[in-house]
């Protein structure tokens, strides 16, 4: 165990176990009890073993079930707890060996001393409202070192530990550090020069103010919020199709750039929809809690997944604002924190009323889209178009109302006509006597004695027959096609296919007349056949026909009607009828009918056929003739004055549906206008938002957290261990949001400042950014944490940003305070003393140094090379990805076959990269980004060979290296050394040492020689990526420089902010 002494070294500084003098419960004792005892003797009252709770003093000092008293204040030797932790009897020992928990000797001593000192308890700091501590006053050199109150707290602790801070980092390092931290991009050499040239006292502050005003600031700060908000461009789970939440993402960037105070930032995201007269922007903000995944797998039970959505909101809200692990109480009372399962479901009740289905189904599941509730986000121009389309609906509705008025008189005329018709024996189908029958493919037709036509001659693979005839005025409601066997056809069957079969894939009919400006096209609504082959039903023709006026013609119909004409037993005459919406026929009209044979089976054209038409109401037409319902017949026969209301209604209904009348036309126009609006709306950007049902859903405790095991009914309420709802706010989501940012809340401000601290100093004051509960790591600087939290809520020392005085919950001002501190500005030089005493640099005796976040690694390469496209917001983009990156994800959704963008989409900031959750961008995952499936408040920071491979070889970095090489040659000066020095400074912000130049120039010379010999290799290298080099560059030279630039972009110093 060579590691042991080193571990103990680490413990020396920060562990709660080694403290001289008075024991403090929260710092020294609670972590031991919480970690080792609370699981069985803690807040989960139902599970408290032996009826003993050690989280409550009153329980701990009373006799337990056994009669023994765990803690006798002042008397460790009488305390059962002490006996049980020191015993050698494994049956008695606490914690029990089975738990795999073991107290160290130091921990045992701490407990003993604590009891001896009276066993004083304190409430967990995380549940106590922070009070503003005094800022320590330092004298001597450390006193001079202090620039902000932050430094006073840091300095006091350093003094205590006999450590001293590092001097301020060089100006180059400092501007690079601040620029990367505040914007995620490196400074330009011009910016570095300006800072170097500015010797004024405020030079650094000017830089910080400039950075805080940059639009890049909002983008960079937002990236972390996207992890927290589990933001993505896909729904996640199995199908994982696309969604549109980027308008919400843009809201975040905008809010951060405009320095929205964090309390407002909170309220709008949690409950923007509930604000009085909520603006569109506030509604968009509420999308925060719709960013969770939505399941679309086939066979799922909606309610199971609706519950998961609600629970995700609870957990995300708890973690994001309070760093509490609500998820522990889904199934039982919390093991460590004072939150019960009942309280979990009371909190759940605030998020349970969203008007959602729970799963995603249908079109949005397959092709992507946003399930309800959502709002549309038209721009000004699109709003105009919407208004116009709405106007058109109104106009159409007015016309419809007009048409309705003239209908009774038209109807009574029709009644007379139709009654007359009924008196005669009506012929449903009138055989056509065509004037012309043509084949598109060169077949010939012979008129048969029975009025049918027989095809002969050429038989092309896919023929279309066109039949033309004069037609009397009236209306067209259907076509009847008779297909007949013939001796001359293959196998004496019905079709011309070699086996005797045919496939009719389409029927078209249109009326033309000199008086008509455009042909009237029949819209077929149903079809029926006397026989149809399985899988080749006649209705397929109607179902798949393109609607008249459809924007995109569907692919030609390949299926259709067939009759098993290959089967000798089935070579019988067959009939098929096609009914259409009534088409009015004027005087002097011509009817054209086309029979289409478009199937994949060649030659399958009809052999012998005849055509008939009908003008009868479609509902009365059958294959064999007409069928008028007797009740209708009776109604029409009755004296109009004496008809019953039922009879009158039947006639009216029949008339409206079965004739081509003005009202029907007007109604079609209204439907069309409405559809136009719907179609247009479908093209608009939208975003999912929160919207509650008018009446709240019942919330119940779910036993074991399972959706189908409901227990007691619960109402909305907040955990008792946390403050009450502030006065005058409603007990709903809006109230809950206001509660989180009320000055009484012990967690929200602490959690936020800690996360900000982590951003600038690498590790939070509370290392467990993700947990502020009883199991939280003891803060490295408790007082500083509380001071910062109070300062955030009620500023006294926050600096103005760009002249604007700080406001309450001022994020930019707090960021500025941190980066202005002397602690932040130190050099990152590691001394043996500080490394041994404080390997993790929690005490900040040196400047923090850590690898850039995933986004910044790529953004920086794009920026240095000049490829970066700086543009805020909009739909997510698709940069280069490895081949087949989405291949193993679902076929049911719309996200497969990743296609990279062309143009600027390749070079936007990484935060805009399209995020598919089940296959997230690989380089992001390699650099420790979470998958965005759930709320993640903290990323790990690892260092792997796969990261090295990506930075060396991924096309983005190769292209960026070549671009940088081009700039080296064009802008870097005349000699190789000048160019190297220039690029080195681009990449690191500092001038290289002579030794550094010489390492690089030696390599460059060697490569230049090699690439001169191998022109092919040079050419291959410099043509990587979508942008191509200017022909003016010598290929060998550019290739050699490219590899030098590749080295520079891989330097540890470059991918690290130090």
């Amino acid at each position: 165990m060579p590691r042991l002494p080193l571990l103990l070294l680490g413990l020396g500084v920060l562990s709660a176990t080694v403290h001289a003098g008075e024991i403090k419960f929260n710092r020294d004792v609670r972590p031991i009890l919480s970690d080792n005892c609370f699981a069985c003797h803690g807040p989960d009252a139902q599970k408290a073993k032996g009826n003993l709770r050690l989280d409550l003093r009153e329980s701990a000092i009373k006799p337990a079930e056994s009669g023994e008293i765990a803690i006798v204040p002042g008397k460790p030797q009488s305390s059962e707890l002490i006996k049980r932790i020191f015993t050698d009897d494994t049956g008695e020992l606490m914690p029990p060996p089975k738990s795999h928990k073991k107290l160290s000797a130091a921990q045992k001593e701490t407990l003993k001393t604590w009891i001896a000192q009276g066993a004083h308890y304190e409430q967990h700091w995380g549940f106590t409202k922070p009070t503003r501590p005094d800022v320590p006053k330092l004298s001597g050199p450390l006193g001079n070192w202090v620039r902000t109150p932050i430094d006073a707290f840091i300095g006091a602790r350093l003094q205590q530990e006999n450590l001293s801070p590092q001097p301020q980092a060089t100006k180059e390092t400092l501007i690079r550090r601040a620029t990367l931290d505040l914007t995620g991009l490196p400074p330009t050499p011009q910016e570095v020069d300006a800072f170097l040239a500015d010797s004024s006292e405020s030079a650094y502050e000017k830089v910080v103010d400039r950075l805080l005003a940059s639009p890049r600031y909002g983008e960079h700060i937002a990236a972390n919020w996207l992890d927290i908000a589990r933001y993505a461009d896909s729904h996640g789970f199995q199908v994982d199709s696309s969604r549109m939440m980027w308008p919400w993402r843009d809201w975040v960037i905008n809010a951060l750039n405009s320095n929205m105070p964090f309390d407002q930032f909170t309220v709008e995201q949690l409950a923007g929809d509930l604000l009085p007269s909520a603006t569109r922007s506030q509604l968009v903000a509420s999308g925060f809690n719709r960013n969770h995944r939505i399941n679309g797998e086939g066979g799922i039970i909606d309610e199971e997944w609706r519950i998961e959505n609600v629970i995700d909101r609870v957990e995300t809200t708890g973690l994001t604002w309070m760093a509490l692990t609500f998820n522990c109480c889904r199934c039982h009372d919390h093991k460590y924190d004072p939150i019960t399962q009942r309280e979990f479901y009371q909190f759940f009740a605030y998020f349970n009323d969203v008007a959602e289905r729970g799963s995603i189904q249908g079109e949005s599941n397959r092709s992507g889209g946003n399930p309800d509730p959502l709002i549309l986000l038209p721009n000004a121009e699109q709003e105009k178009k919407q208004a116009k389309l709405k106007e058109e609906i109104k106009t159409a509705e007015a016309l419809r109302d007009g048409a309705a008025k003239q209908l009774p008189s038209l109807q009574s005329e029709w009644e007379k006509e139709f009654s007359k018709q009924l008196e005669h024996d009506i012929v449903a189908w009138k055989r056509l006597e065509p004037t012309e029958v043509k084949s598109a493919g060169g077949a010939t037709f012979t008129h048969q004695s029975d009025g049918s036509w027989l095809a002969g001659g050429t038989n092309p693979a896919n023929d279309t027959y066109e039949i033309t005839t004069k037609i009397n005025a009236g209306q067209l409601t259907g076509i009847l096609l008779d297909v007949l066997p013939d001796e001359t056809l293959p196998n004496k069957s019905l079709g011309r296919g070699a086996n005797g079969n045919f496939v009719l894939s389409g029927v078209e009919a249109e009326i033309t007349a000199p008086t008509l400006p455009e042909p009237r096209v029949a819209e077929f609504t149903s079809a029926e056949a006397s026989y149809q082959q399985k899988g080749w039903e006649v209705n397929l023709i109607v179902k798949d026909q393109p609607k008249p006026g459809a924007k995109e013609k569907k692919e030609k119909n390949k299926s259709g009607w067939a009759v098993d004409g290959n089967d000798p037993a089935k070579r019988q005459p067959r009939k098929a009828m096609f009914l259409c919406n009534p088409v009015e026929i004027p005087e002097g009209a011509t009817l054209t009918i086309r029979l289409l044979h478009g199937s994949q089976f060649g030659d399958h054209n009809i052999g012998r056929f005849a055509l008939s038409t009908t003008a009868l109401p479609p509902s009365t037409v059958k294959l064999e003739g007409a069928k008028i319902p007797p009740t209708l017949r009776a109604a029409l026969k009755a004296d109009p004055a004496k008809r019953t209301p039922t009879q009158q209604n039947e006639i009216t209904k029949f008339y409206r549906e079965n004739t081509d009348n003005p009202l029907k036309r007007a109604e079609a126009a209204v439907a069309k206008a409405k559809k136009a609006l719907d179609d247009f709306n479908a093209t608009l950007p939208s975003v999912m938002v929160m919207k509650d049902l008018p009446k709240p859903r019942e919330a119940r405790i779910l036993l074991r957290g399972e959706y189908d095991k409901p227990g007691d009914k619960v109402e909305r309420a907040l955990p008792a261990a946390l403050p009450k709802l502030p006065d005058g706010v409603p007990n709903d989501r809006l109230g809950l949001a206001k509660w989180l940012v009320s000055p009484e809340h012990p967690l929200t401000a602490r959690v936020w400042v800690n996360r900000a601290w982590e951003r600038f100093f690498g590790t939070g004051i509370v290392k467990t950014t993700e947990n502020f509960g009883s199991q939280a790591d003891w803060p490295s600087h408790m007082d500083l944490l509380d001071w910062l939290a109070c300062e955030f809520m009620q500023p006294t020392a926050l600096p103005p940003v760009n002249g604007k005085p700080a406001q309450a919950w001022d994020m930019k001002a707090m960021h500025k305070l941190m980066v202005m501190s002397a602690a932040y500005r130190q050099a990152a030089t590691v001394t043996p003393q500080s490394l041994e005493k404080d390997p993790d640099n929690r005490l900040l005796a040196r400047g923090p140094r850590f690898r850039l976040p995933a986004e910044a690694v790529r953004d920086q390469a794009l920026a240095i090379s000049g490829l970066l496209v700086e543009k805020i917001g909009g739909p997510s983009v698709k940069p280069y990805m490895p081949t087949a990156v989405w291949d193993e994800t679902s076929v049911y959704g719309n996200l497969r076959n990743y296609q990279a963008d062309t143009g600027e989409g390749l070079y936007r900031r990484t935060m805009y990269t399209f995020w598919k959750r089940t296959a997230a961008p690989p380089t992001m995952l390699l650099f420790d980004s979470p998958s965005r499936e759930i709320c993640t408040v903290k990323r790990s920071r690892t260092n792997t060979p796969l990261q090295a491979l990506a930075l060396l070889n991924e096309v983005t970095y190769v292209e960026a290296a070549r671009k940088l090489a081009e700039r080296m040659i064009s802008e870097g000066g005349a000699t190789a050394d000048d160019r190297i020095a220039w690029a080195f400074r681009m990449a690191t912000s500092r001038k290289p040492a002579a030794e550094e130049i010489s390492v690089l120039s030696k390599g460059l010379a060697a490569r230049l020689e090699r690439y001169k010999k191998d022109g092919e290799a040079a050419k291959k290298l410099i043509t990587q990526g979508a942008s191509k080099p200017d022909a003016k560059f010598d290929a060998a030279e550019l290739a050699a420089y490219t590899m030098t630039a590749n080295v520079l972009l891989n330097l540890d110093e470059v991918i690290t902010r130090e």
Partner: protein, 487 residues
């Protein structure tokens, strides 16, 4: 001290502390060469030597090959014969068997639940007389190598939560996968390859059902370096492994020397051990550029070996080719090798689809086991074969003489184990005559995972990670070792 002590749950600070001494010693001694440094820092590179105290005891298995059959193979058509069902053909599944248990919404609306007996013939094989259907002739041929566990059950009824549950012990996203746990606990035995490698293939039964998700081999809340490294079927086997076109190995070496020299110089100024780790990573990357192509180059495999795996072995990205790669990874001591074969989700047209799947997997699976055995590797390699749940005895959709489909069934399914520490030729656990409910030895997913961890030398209750204030583990707060199947 237990290394899981929460102060050191992230290894980074530990590594850093461990390095600090060496660092200053080395600086005092005037530094060391890059390659030597690479070796020195190896443990922080590939996931390292794992946690102190792990393995918890001498393990039976040094490595695991987990052959995941994604989409859920039908247990009653492959392993769990139910001859009595022929008499029940077409009859409604009795309520006494279904017991009101929930169904997916794909079949919950069905008017009836007609029993569909398997149309495949079963026979007993080997000395053990283990049952296999005719679809698995090659696996049946080595029946005595297997332990057939017929009584595994799970909680989820849909694929996404079920496959996530098998892999991470939780139905919801966010937890580490089993391979990541093993990599975190035990580290890597190979200095040139990751500890956890994933290989995927499409099935011919129903090509890409079920789809795969990054999270199945993700590290969850563990440091991201423990995530499974997916060897890809197209392009570079490991992402970004190849140098860009126009850059040969010599040029790469030269640039890495420059990079190393500059990084080292910077380290000399700043003294941050993270820089040394970075240098080591680049050296490891360079070694991987040689070791991975060597791994995937199967041209020197003997004709006999290739023939044993079947014709697909020559097509990269097939299950057969992946099985051969699995053997090569095992030879190189990669700790956790996981294959995912898609295509087992047979809601309709099962007879045809399952034939395709078995054709894909039967011969290569048997070949892998034989091949490992021939090379003496089977004795310390654990093989697991299974999917995320079972399938229903009743037909989804119409039942005909030649066709049926089966819906998801979480309440019982069969998993096969073989190799290190496993009782050979044992059939364990039993289901009722409808293969609907377990009648003997129910084994929860957590039990199975606890047993897998045990075989590689890990007490499942000890392998924990502190996250959000709680010590998480693969088996949550459950998991019982399945002792009767252990050799």
């Amino acid at each position: 001290m237990n290394c899981n002590d929460h102060c050191f749950s992230g290894l980074d600070s530990e590594t850093r502390a461990a390095l600090s001494r060496r660092t200053f010693l080395q600086r005092a001694a005037g530094g060391i060469g890059l390659a030597a440094l690479g070796g020195l820092l190896q443990r922080s590179v590939t996931g390292g030597e794992g946690l102190a105290g792990f393995p918890n005891f001498p393990p039976k298995a040094k490595r695991i090959i987990y052959l995941f059959q994604s989409g859920a193979p039908s247990q009653m058509d492959l392993f769990d014969p139910k001859p009595e069902m022929e008499k029940q053909r077409g009859k409604n599944l009795p309520d006494s068997i279904r017991k009101g248990q929930r169904l997916t919404t794909m079949t919950s609306g069905q008017k009836s639940f007609p029993v569909a007996p398997s149309m495949f013939k079963f026979a007993q094989h080997g000395k053990s007389g283990m049952w296999f259907s005719e679809l698995m002739p090659h696996m049946a041929g080595i029946a005595d190598e297997f332990c057939q566990v017929r009584s595994v059950f799970t909680e989820a009824i849909n694929h996404d939560p079920a496959i996530t549950f098998m892999q991470t012990g939780s139905q919801l996203a966010g937890r580490p996968s089993i391979g990541s746990w093993v990599a975190y606990g035990l580290g890597s035995e190979n200095k040139d390859l990751p500890a956890y490698v994933v290989l995927t293939s499409f099935g011919s039964g129903r090509k890409d059902d079920q789809p795969l998700y990054d999270r199945l081999w993700g590290a969850g809340f563990l440091p991201a370096k423990h995530q499974g490294v997916k060897f890809r079927n197209k392009g570079d086997p490991v992402l970004y492994l190849s140098n860009p076109p126009g850059v040969d190995r010599e040029t790469r070496r030269e640039t890495l020397d420059e990079l190393g020299a500059l990084n080292k110089k910077h380290f000399d100024t700043l003294g941050d051990p993270d820089i040394q780790t970075r240098i080591a990573q680049y050296e490891m990357a360079f070694r991987m550029q040689a070791s991975v192509p060597d791994l995937t180059d199967t041209s020197k495999e003997s004709k006999e070996t290739l023939e044993m795996y079947g014709p697909d072995v020559k097509t990269p990205g097939t299950y057969a080719a992946n099985c051969l790669l699995a053997r090569r990874l095992a030879e190189r001591n990669v700790r956790f090798i996981q294959l995912f074969h898609m295509g087992w989700d047979h809601h309709g047209g099962l007879p045809n689809a399952i034939k395709g799947q078995c054709k894909d997997t039967d011969q290569p699976t048997a070949a892998l086991i034989k091949d490992l055995k021939q090379r003496g590797l089977l004795e310390d390699t654990l093989i697991v074969w299974g999917g995320e749940f079972g399938r229903t005895i009743y037909s989804q959709g119409a039942l005909t003489e030649t066709n049926y489909g089966r819906d998801h069934h979480p309440r019982c399914f069969t998993v096969l184990l073989a190799g290190a520490g496993i009782k050979k030729g044992l059939t364990f656990g039993a289901t009722d005559e409808f293969s609907y409910n377990i009648t003997e030895h129910p084994i929860h997913v957590h039990d199975l995972n606890a047993t897998i961890l045990h075989l590689i030398g890990v007490e499942h209750e000890k392998l924990t990670f502190r996250f959000q204030g709680r010590d998480f583990r693969l088996t949550d707060i459950h998991g019982e070792l399945v002792k009767p199947i252990l050799a």
